[in-house]
Symmetry: C2
DNA sequence: ACTGGCACTCGTTACAGTCGAGTGCCAGAC
DNA sequence: GTCTGGCACTCGACTGTAACGAGTGCCAGT
């Protein structure tokens, strides 16, 4: 299959024009707007080949061409160059963090920044507990049989949980439990804690064993199970840009998908170190998102990856710009979190 | 202005029909679907009066009538009866809370429940800190000059904040500070703390005074300022029901408004005890929400109001059903929080 | 291998005509 | 005085036709 350089140029031009105008692009308009050095007729021949190969298609017989998911994929993989951030964007990113007082604040600012810069729906996963380590564990007596258990992770994330104890506890007991738990668990990665937690039960004096067993259960539930993954979302209003031309007319399935934390976690939480991942249209496993593209990446301190973030938008999106922004924001957030 | 009983019946019938069919309702259809005991012609005369008074209007000359905001207002105030919950709804509400492990969980379940039952956008404010009281304050040393400060409220809400200390602290210093702060503040309502916090600085030994002053500042910031109000949202996908016929075609302004915490707080956070408030269309002060109605109420334990919750939807909504659901959910959440 | 020319397709727009739901009004009945 | 049946009228929704034009595919010529 002959996809020579010019055909690739044509595809690139089609993608760029369609992304910016939102309208099917014809051969004549193409040669006018790009210096291709050939006539419309030649471009038409190239287009016919590109269509045969499945990179573009015609919405109607008498309309211009539109990239297919496959076309976007080729564009992203081989035809686009990184678009450097504008100074304004750079400044916006640098400025967004001044005055961020805590983790919540950082995450919220980040997600809004991403939404604003890319003009798309932005998603930021809170630093995953599984990938953090324990900085401190606190037990606060609420009543003799109730404890509030608070965990502080090195990322600044705090989780708490009310625990019902099997038998009344004395203040000294609580102190003992607290000391023991902290001794054994502080500093270890949460994903490594299960064996440590198990071992805790044996470390303790027999009379405290039931209490510690209860605590251990709750610890495992809170620290290890998926429940504690949190996610922030912003920019849903951006879905309405392009007046429903994207998304074949219905925002419904997309809004529904965005409300499912499980789905968001699947999209933005499963990241490999320093890899930026792009899912275009049909490449999405989520049926509701077949009309969208997702750009996601991990962020973290150095090689240690903490969580994922990214954006979701129409397949017709400015990939080079979006990619650059997502990368830059991820790097900044990572640096910021490394500071504390 | 003569609005006799029959005219009111006609208005009620119009509202009910329009809400359920989503289409302008004409005189003939009205007498067929409701036992009004009069002819279409009579109804038409009544309609003319209702229109003159501004309760209904005609989208086009040859179309049926549609209630105006004013018409809905009259309907809500004087024409609708409370619609009892269905057993299924009752069961759903009772079931939603089983297994709620912490405050986050309660709030999330509540907001999803509300969205599901009313089929609208649901909003739940976390128990307001200003209206809670302090259960415990914890200081966790991160380094010699950094503390993590954690506050646990009686509602189960937990707030944390990283504090940079002006000078290194010893472990004993931290213990002292912790004890003192807890002694003075535990049990008091957050809105009452500012003078207490001020007094703290004087209670402490001179060498700890700078440290305490720093802490006091952070305490005030964290506890008293608006920043700490949190809000949960669900059901935005419900905005797309009725295929953009509501909302004059654009979800944009509504989605934008829903992203502004400030706006949501204004709508759902300013509640008076056990009052259910309804804002219909133009009655909203937020321009972006002129095409929507908001039903909000407070929830709390007994007379002590903790926060607000409610729903937002098209002015064309099932007011009696929505009101009943919002009330019921608020009561349940209040009871649930009272238990802990 | 590229180009100019040409016939063809088909969606878009405009316009005219019909249909019918719904109205307002009025004269007459109760 | 209030309600009703009847009737003319309005106007949006829908249908069909025609003209338009952007864009294409193909082919012969350079």
């Amino acid at each position: 299959m002959g996809l020579d350089d010019r055909k690739l140029d044509v595809l690139r031009a089609i993608v760029e024009d369609y992304v910016s105008t939102q309208e099917p692009v014809g051969s004549k308009a193409l040669v006018e707007r790009h210096q291709l050095g050939v006539s419309p007729a030649t471009v038409r021949n190239d287009m016919a080949v590109l269509e045969e190969e499945g990179y573009i298609r015609q919405p109607h017989t008498s309309a211009g061409r539109v990239p297919t998911d496959r076309g976007y994929r080729l564009f992203v993989d081989r035809l686009s160059r990184v678009k450097p951030l504008t100074p304004a964007e750079r400044r916006a990113i640098e400025r967004f963090l001044v005055g961020a007082v805590d983790l919540d604040d950082v995450v919220h600012r980040t997600v809004r920044l991403l939404a604003q810069l890319t003009r798309q729906v932005a998603v930021v996963q809170y630093p995953s507990l599984a990938r953090s380590s324990v900085r401190h564990l606190e037990l606060v007596p609420i009543s003799t049989t109730r404890l509030m258990f608070v965990m502080i992770a090195d990322t600044g994330r705090v989780e708490q949980r009310l625990v019902e104890m099997p038998a009344p506890l004395l203040a000294d007991d609580v102190t003992d439990l607290r000391r023991l738990i902290n001794e054994k668990l502080v500093g270890s990665r949460l994903s490594d804690t299960p064996p440590l937690v198990q071992a805790l039960v044996d470390e303790v004096t027999p009379d405290l064993r039931p209490a510690m067993a209860t605590l251990a259960t709750v610890l495992l539930e809170t620290l290890v199970e998926r429940h504690e993954e949190r996610i922030a979302l912003a920019g849903t209003a951006n879905l309405t840009r392009g007046g429903l031309l994207d998304f074949q007319g219905s925002l419904r399935p997309i809004l529904e998908a965005l409300e499912e934390e499980v789905i968001l976690l699947k999209l933005f939480g499963e990241v490999e170190p320093s890899t930026l991942r792009i899912r275009i249209g049909d490449e999405n496993e989520i049926d509701n998102l077949r009309a969208t593209s997702v750009v996601s990446t991990g962020y973290g301190t150095g090689s240690n990856i903490l969580g994922g973030l990214g954006v979701l938008g129409p397949t017709r999106m400015d990939y080079p710009g979006t990619i650059a922004t997502v990368r830059a924001v991820a790097r900044y957030v990572g640096d910021l979190l490394a500071q504390n």
